[in-house]
């Protein structure tokens, strides 16, 4: 075969492979928008479900998901960032820190349903938080910890060494150096990780299944010890557990969830892009 022909074949195969990767995303989006857009209305977004979820809106599920995500982030970001600071700035490369790093990598690979069972065992049963926003947030928080820690570590490690050297040479303590010369410059990366974690927490079903999600609860939660509806679980329920739900309501719910997650990811990308442009070292 002539080189020109093999080149053409290679190019075609590579291009088709790329197309195959993008195609499903486009198709999923197109189907969900086509079938769900008609359901989206002010009432759908901001009112309670009625008549066994066959009518009314999905407001409690949207709000519940927002609560859960917020709770997860409030728990996971401080903990994760502090752990990352310890790993990058304080610990030397010894057996303990290697073990911790290994644990974090493994934590990222644990299936989300296992987090759900873990949350059920620890928060719901052992700490007696019951099925509640608190239990669900903590479970989601633990699930996104690896994302937060890993991105925070990368952000800290990308701060040039000499910021630390100079700060220490000016007589700053280790902590002052971290606080004033390292953390501020790592903030963009940390924020990006936080938002990615947020998107992941918003979309997961399994971790909230046993820890918080209510099947049908047409009122808003009053405290962190209340159960709440949540978008991913609600979608599962109306798609498979309750007969007679209009198709556009199901797809409309999926559309809302998808939009929420995509919006969060988009925010992360925009943030990262803007900070990267401002970075000068």
């Amino acid at each position: 075969m002539s080189p020109r022909l093999t080149q053409k074949i290679a190019f075609t195969v590579l291009f088709l492979a790329t197309l195959l990767v993008v195609l499903p995303v486009a198709v999923i989006l197109a189907i969900i928008v086509a079938k769900g857009a008609s359901a989206i209305s002010w009432e759908f977004l901001f009112s309670m479900p009625r008549d066994g979820m066959t009518a009314g809106g999905i407001f409690p599920a949207i709000l519940g998901t927002l609560y859960l995500v917020l709770g997860a982030v409030l728990f996971a970001v401080p903990l994760g960032v502090l752990a990352a600071v310890y790993l990058v700035e304080y610990s030397s490369d010894n057996r303990f820190s290697r073990l911790v790093k290994l644990a974090i990598v493994n934590l990222a690979g644990v299936p989300s349903v296992v987090y759900g069972l873990f949350g059920l065992g620890i928060f719901v049963t052992f700490f007696r938080f019951g099925a509640s926003i608190l239990s669900g947030s903590l479970t989601l928080g633990i699930m996104i910890l690896p994302v937060i820690i890993t991105s925070a570590r990368e952000a800290l490690e990308s701060v040039p060494r000499h910021f630390r050297t100079v700060s220490l040479s000016l007589g700053a303590s280790r902590w002052q150096t971290v606080r004033h010369s390292v953390l501020p410059h790592a903030l963009p990366g940390i924020l990006t990780g936080m938002i990615l974690g947020l998107g992941r927490a918003a979309g997961e079903t399994a971790p909230i299944l046993f820890t918080v999600a209510a099947f049908y609860l047409p009122r808003l939660p009053q405290s962190v010890f209340d159960q709440t509806m949540a978008l991913p679980y609600h979608l599962y329920v109306i798609s498979t557990q309750v007969p007679g739900i209009a198709e556009n309501v199901r797809y409309g719910t999926a559309l809302v969830l998808l939009a929420l997650v995509l919006l969060l990811n988009l925010a992360a990308i925009v943030l990262r892009y803007r900070f990267r442009k401002r970075k000068k070292w």
């Binding site: 030397s92 000499h162 050297t165 700060s167 220490l168 040479s169 007589g171 700053a172």
Partner: protein
């Protein structure tokens, strides 16, 4: 101020990086308010010696030090030495200009904030003094809030010198401070060192022998971890006592 007029004194100083001995029995007496240059080929230990004086070597894992280093009569290798106070007293300027990615103003007040040395009301005055001392005030007085990274390299390096001054150090350590600068800027920094030495003891590491000859009062020649010869700069460059020194300054190795 020490009575002897000696600012830094090392006594049989040894330093090891793991198994490698980087400094061997160094005895050095750095006089106050003079410029002392340390010269020698790459890897001779001159930068390592400089970093002993503010204990920046502590940051490297596996460093061991033996012997004594007296600064104003106090042994800074003694256990319990307050490193934060030591580094307040012994400022350092690095090879590459490395201002923080902050404004000119914030770069200078960094040390003040860290040590809570002054009230905010005094900051303006202190910033002006520091910038005047490094002859940057006229150029930068209207650009204090600009990012320091927008300055020329020479201005950045001057700013890095200015950055240590608010701590009122007694000693300035300069680790090849001109190696990233062009020849004109280099001369300017050397001129600045001559002015600063009326207030500060300056120790400069340089691989540039002309610079040592021009800018320093005393010169130490180091080779393979040893201080081979130390004396007045004029003597070292015109009548070196050691064969090795003579070979190095005449360019036969290095």
């Amino acid at each position: 101020m020490s009575m002897s007029g000696i600012s830094i004194e090392t006594k049989s100083l040894d330093l090891f990086y793991g198994d490698f001995q980087a400094l061997i029995a160094v005895d050095l007496r750095v006089p106050e308010r003079e410029v002392t240059a340390l010269i020698g080929p790459s890897g001779c230990g001159k930068s390592t010696l400089l970093r002993v004086f503010n204990r920046m070597n502590d940051l490297i894992e596996g460093v061991r030090v033996a012997g004594r280093v007296l600064i104003d009569g106090e042994d800074i290798l003694a256990p319990g030495t307050d490193l934060l106070r030591l580094r307040e007293k012994v400022g350092m300027v690095f090879q590459r200009p490395n201002p923080f990615p902050l404004s000119v103003y914030e770069n200078i007040t960094f040390g003040l904030a860290v040590h809570s040395l002054a009230r905010r009301a005094e900051y303006d005055r202190i910033v002006e003094e520091a910038l005047r001392a490094v002859l940057l005030w006229d150029d930068l007085k209207d650009k204090l809030q600009r990012s320091a990274l927008g300055l020329s390299l020479e201005q950045q390096q001057r700013l890095c010198i200015a950055r240590v001054l608010p701590l009122k150090p007694r000693i300035l350590l300069m680790d090849e401070p001109c190696s990233a600068l062009d020849p004109i800027a280099t001369l300017h920094i050397e001129e600045l060192m001559r002015q600063l030495k009326s207030d500060y003891t300056i120790v400069i590491v340089t691989h540039n022998m002309q610079q040592a000859a021009r800018a320093s009062d005393r010169t130490g020649f180091m080779y393979l971890g040893r201080l081979v010869e130390f004396g007045e700069t004029a003597q070292i460059f015109t009548r070196p006592r050691q064969e090795l020194t003579e070979q190095y300054i005449s360019g036969r190795f290095g």
